[in-house]
């Protein structure tokens, strides 16, 4: 028993204390959070563009077909189909080792891969949100002489935003965990450091369980924040 504890403490020290290794985990978590936020920004931007194109295409008056919009819609559909139909890990490997195989900036490649992946899912979330806004709202906007884009920007999107925020919060949490995949293309996020420590000490239990606990704590924190935000939004509904 004593030997077990001595062993336990030694492995713990090796994983976290020796050479101030705990700093590596924190640094890695910092990168993980940066990746999550920047990828979500890319994802939301792409998602809104794709969703607006697709909704605009579907809402065209019958008999009035804008060819440019048709092409844009086809591209958007292809994008969501390909991204949602292939595993994220495979996409990241293609970004990292095929398309940007000479790039040294693995963070940037990972961010791009994650963001482009997230965009396809966010697009569907945003599209659902846009369609959930009552048709009377855009009719009111159009009847005042506002154009399609003005109506979208000032009337439909702000109202859709409220409806999509919970789903977007969810996407953030999913993305946060999915950032671990970018270690496979060499971006130095938290899993990358855990593996480095493990490889050096030949001891993987503490590094892996340690980062699992860190992921979990952050997820609990995000879920709590999300709930708080939702309650806040519901309150403003009552105006």
């Amino acid at each position: 028993m004593e030997k077990f504890w001595a062993d336990f403490v030694e492995k713990f020290n090796m994983a976290f204390i020796t050479g101030d290794r705990w700093k590596l985990y924190l640094q890695g978590m910092g990168t993980t959070l940066e990746l999550t936020v920047t990828a979500l920004v890319i994802g939301v931007f792409l998602g809104i563009v794709v969703a607006v194109v697709r909704v605009a295409h579907d809402q065209q008056n019958p008999g009035k077909h804008n060819p440019a919009l048709g092409i844009a819609n086809a591209i958007c559909k292809l994008y969501t189909t390909v991204i949602r139909g292939t595993p994220m890990l495979v996409q990241l490997l293609i970004w990292g080792f095929v398309i940007f195989k000479t790039s040294r900036n693995r963070f940037l490649v990972g961010m791009l891969g994650l963001g482009i992946n997230s965009g396809a899912y966010v697009a569907e979330i945003v599209r659902g949100g846009l369609m959930s806004v009552d048709a009377g709202q855009s009719e009111a906007g159009r009847s005042l002489g506002l154009g399609y884009l003005h109506t979208m920007i000032y009337i439909v999107i702000p109202q859709a935003f409220k409806n999509i925020l919970p789903a977007l919060g969810n996407e953030f949490i999913v993305l946060f965990k999915d950032t671990s995949l970018v270690s496979s293309i060499g971006a130095a996020e938290i899993l990358y450091y855990a593996e480095a420590v493990g490889a050096k000490t030949y001891e993987y239990m503490f590094p892996y369980i340690g980062i699992a606990v860190m992921y979990l704590l952050f997820c609990i924190l995000f879920t709590w924040l999300q709930g708080k935000l939702e309650r806040r939004l519901r309150q403003s509904d009552r105006h």
């Binding site: 008056n61 019958p62 008999g63 009035k64 009552d134 009377g136 709202q137 009719e139 009111a140 906007g141 159009r142 009847s143 005042l144 002489g145 506002l146 154009g147 003005h150 000032y154 009337i155 702000p158 109202q159 409220k162 509904d237 009552r238 105006h239």
Partner: protein, 240 residues
Amino acid sequence: MIDIKGLEKAFEGHQVLKGINEHIEKGEKVAVIGPSGSGKSTFLRCLNLLEQPTGGTITFEGVDITDPKNDINRLRARMGMVFQQFNLFPHLSVRENIKLAPVKLKLMTKSEADQKALELLERVGLPDKADAYPKQLSGGQQQRIAIARALAMNPDVMLFDEPTSALDPEMVGEVLEIMKELADDGMTMVVVTHEMGFARSVATRVLFMDEGVIAEQNTPEEFFAHPQNPRLKEFLSKVL
């Protein structure tokens, strides 16, 4: 002012409007009545192209609005519309609801629009509601704001799509009162309505729509006193 020739509208093969010819003069107040499903709302919604007609032409102030080459947004800016369900923007305050279109379309500066909004709120009897949100208001108040919002664009004609049908009975009067004042000020109005009292006292002309055509029209006095069409007689006997 509005000239409608051979107007047709079909939804997926179902013919709702079957060739309507009509002319609306400046200053007229036209009430459109008829049974539900007769196409009266569709007719009104075609006038500002919220519904795309499948046949015929609509000419507004000399411009064919059904011609895709003409900028529909600029034409719509001169036609106000009031909806059955008010359709106020719930995320904006009353003041912002009224200011949005004039400011975004650069017809007024922010302070001009603010001034205009307050004037209009005074006119519809709600000067103290500028900073309220639509959900805090009763249906009647919301509809009065919706009228103010449409008026902020200084339209040449106002289209009303059953403006009192979604209201509690005690709120119908306040909305009709505003509409009557608007009519007295000389606004050109096309009103789809079930309020026979309003049609009789405010309209200068009443149209009866049935099965996608205008089956009868007349001055309100003649229309209600001496209906000719058997469907109209039947309709009036049910609603009066």
